[in-house]
Amino acid sequence: MAGAIRDLFRDHAEFRIGAVLVAFVLLLSALASFSPYPPESVYVVPPDVPPSLAYWFGTTSRGQDVFWELSVALRNTLLFGAVVAMISRVIALVIGLLSGYKGGWVDRALMSVNDTFIVIPLLPLLVLFYFVMRDRMSWLALALIMACFGWAYDARLIRSVAMSLKAREFTQTSLFSGMSTREILVQEHLPHVMPVVFSTAMNNMVWSIGLEVTLAVLGFTDVNRPTIGGMIYWANQHAAMVAGVWWWIAFPIAAVTMMFIGLFLLAVTANAYIDPRSRFRTIGGAF
């Protein structure tokens, strides 16, 4: 693993750029634990100070240091995206593999459920959830709900891969050798769909974080917990754009964009490295 990363780093400019971007963002978010102020407190520093030596990224109209605020926000946002991605990957994997492998009525039933999740419009639902759950709607609860709605497309994708795997010889071999469904799925099929899981995880993070920003801008999240969306929400509340407090918006945008581009580049290069096609070729033995 370490060797692979070293190779990637040496050979791919994209990987280098991606790694540097992500490392920067991770570093920034790791600094969150060292914030000299409680992240939810306001008016702890003079408001509206432009970026300077004392306040590298300036201060907000709420008297927060943008640097520390951003650091905490990045950590929270990354955590949120990662949790959504992780949980939804697990659901997508279980449903996708099971549906693709089992076929028949299991497949039909699971795909009906799957399609239902695809067709239900998410935004009004999340807003209603917010109204019902109120302050019990913590970021974790929101992440859980989003994860419950963020797997359906990818489950379909995994299902189609699983169906092709099922037709492979090695599946039959495993079946004849007396492996259970669970064993076949976990030991034989799972490794083949991991590249798909890996690349969809990135998209899923973009999606969930984007939706979090949307919800926060509309005020449907816990806006006191610093997140990228929460920062934008408060910046809007204080008309930061037109008030000339550009650093309040510019730095979060820059950071979140860096994060996404970095993650994307990593995902792309890593994907090329473990190209599923070459894996299928070698493992499938059809060529």
């Binding site: 809007n236 509340q237 008030a243």
Partner: protein, 633 residues
Amino acid sequence: MCCIRAMRLIASALLLLLFLSAPPSYGQGLPQDIPRKELLILENPEGTIKNAGWFNIWAINAGSQSNGLQQVALDTLWYIDPEAGLDGAWDNSLAADKPQYNSDFTEMRVNLRKGIFWSDNVEFTADDVVATVMTQIMHPGMRFSAVMASNVASVEAPDRYTVVFKLKHPNSRFHTNFTVRWGAVWILPKHVFEKVDDPLRFNFNKPISLGAYELHSYDPNGKWYIWQLRRDWDRTTLARFGKPGPKYLAYIDPGPPDKRVILQLNHELDVIHDIAPEGMFALARQSKTTRAWFKGFPYGHPDPTLPAVIFNTQNDLFKNPDVRWALALLIDIKAVVMAAYRGACTISAIGVPPTGAHPETYHQPMEEWLKSFEIDTGKRKIRPYDPTIGKQIADMLRPSMGEQIPSDPKEVARAFGMGWWKPDPQAAQELLEKEGFAKRNGAWTTPDGRLFSIRVMVEGDLRPVMTRAGTMIVQLWKQAGIDAKIDLAQGTLPTRRAAGDFDTLIGWSVETWGGHQDLSYFLDSWHSQFVAEPGKSQPLRNWQRWSSPALDKIIEEIRTVDFDDPRSIELGKEYIKLAVKEMPTIPLMAYTVFTAMDQTYWTGFPTAENPYTNPVPNWGNSRYMFVRLKPAS
């Protein structure tokens, strides 16, 4: 080769974009075919109107009210201006003079003006007033149906210009239903409604106008409404003050705050209804032509409404005045003012908004009493009032704002308010301990041993400054060891407020006429007869669900004295003292509305120096603004 083809495609797409944006005849948000010089563009704070083609204001629905309909097309008997007024705060509009009650306030007689016409050439008469009342009584579900039904025994028109109301029970304030501060019972055209089968399902489109303007056109998607000065504007009540300046009025939905600022900087929005303080500061900085109520800081117009920390007094935790007081003493009002308004607001320690006629009537006379007011913490007696807090705020702002901050004590008091409660954590602690609360490891627990948790409900971006105030208060309480949290209710706030589904909320349960010292506008609804049982819906405005026999007595006496009787001022002071002792809500400041007026095309807007009316453009009395507006040279 293919690349080149693709490039060409993109290039042509871009060209197409440029081409489309090229025709210069299209301005950005300006109406077509209307000379800009004859047009005043105002913000409709209701935003995009879902049910845009609905003008029947007497039926409840998603039609707009502040789209010009109530400001320029409808009319009613009287107006009370929150400011000085064109001709005094009181204005007889459709009525020729003040209401005449009989001695026991069971009958009200109204004389109407003559020569007032609907826009379809039908004369306005007493029949219209009678129809307004009777139509609503006959159709429960109409906007003013319940009020009329519960008050009016009969209504008659002895002649074309006189209306006599017989009331079911004595009510010295019945006329206020027909008196606009913000809105009131609008008079409907009998000759239109008598032909309608079901007035609840009638859209009143196109509306027949009784005001000086009539509907010109509107957007079916509810983004804009354009009104046009009536040819016969001189046959409306506004004609008494001269010819309105603008020939056309456009009430538009300009979108989020950023865009309001951009539009005004581009001179495409003459009057912004309200904006975040920072937006106001940005406009003041960047636009030479923008004017607000105050020429400089604090800019905004203080509304006669009083944002406060409203306790749910039916909640066990907040039943006790000592607890409420302790929480008040933990608030640093300067921090709240800075957080909410960046200092740009007027504070008030007492339950009356520090605006209009009130400072002279209530705040100044009560100052001495406040200074000597004592509370007993159980260990000692303290005098919590600090008369210098208004001045302290001004002093705090002076270094960064400089000249803009007045130094004359009177002006300081008018702009920033007078005194407030001095933060006193020690006294707060004593008060809480007196009531059995305990502080362990820096965290307060209630008498029954649970964590002392308070949710502060705010509305979110619908009321940004209140949200900010709430956030600050939460922080202050948290620092004192209370488990406080903000509770962002967004659109659920009205439902939850009515249901009593909150610990505390930042909102107002106090609002007044502004231009008149009578407090019945809100106080009557604080009578314990209206307090709902826990779990039931609370009618407005006693959101704190506070009942007090002493207050009931005050209210009952107010009901028996005349609107203009000086005795009602004394009773008002009684209420203030009671509210200070009991602290059912913690009054914070006047709700400041940052109305920004662009003088590029029009001049003569109402301001603090020339306070002939309030500038907030969604109020029914903002019509008085139009007769003073002159085209800019």
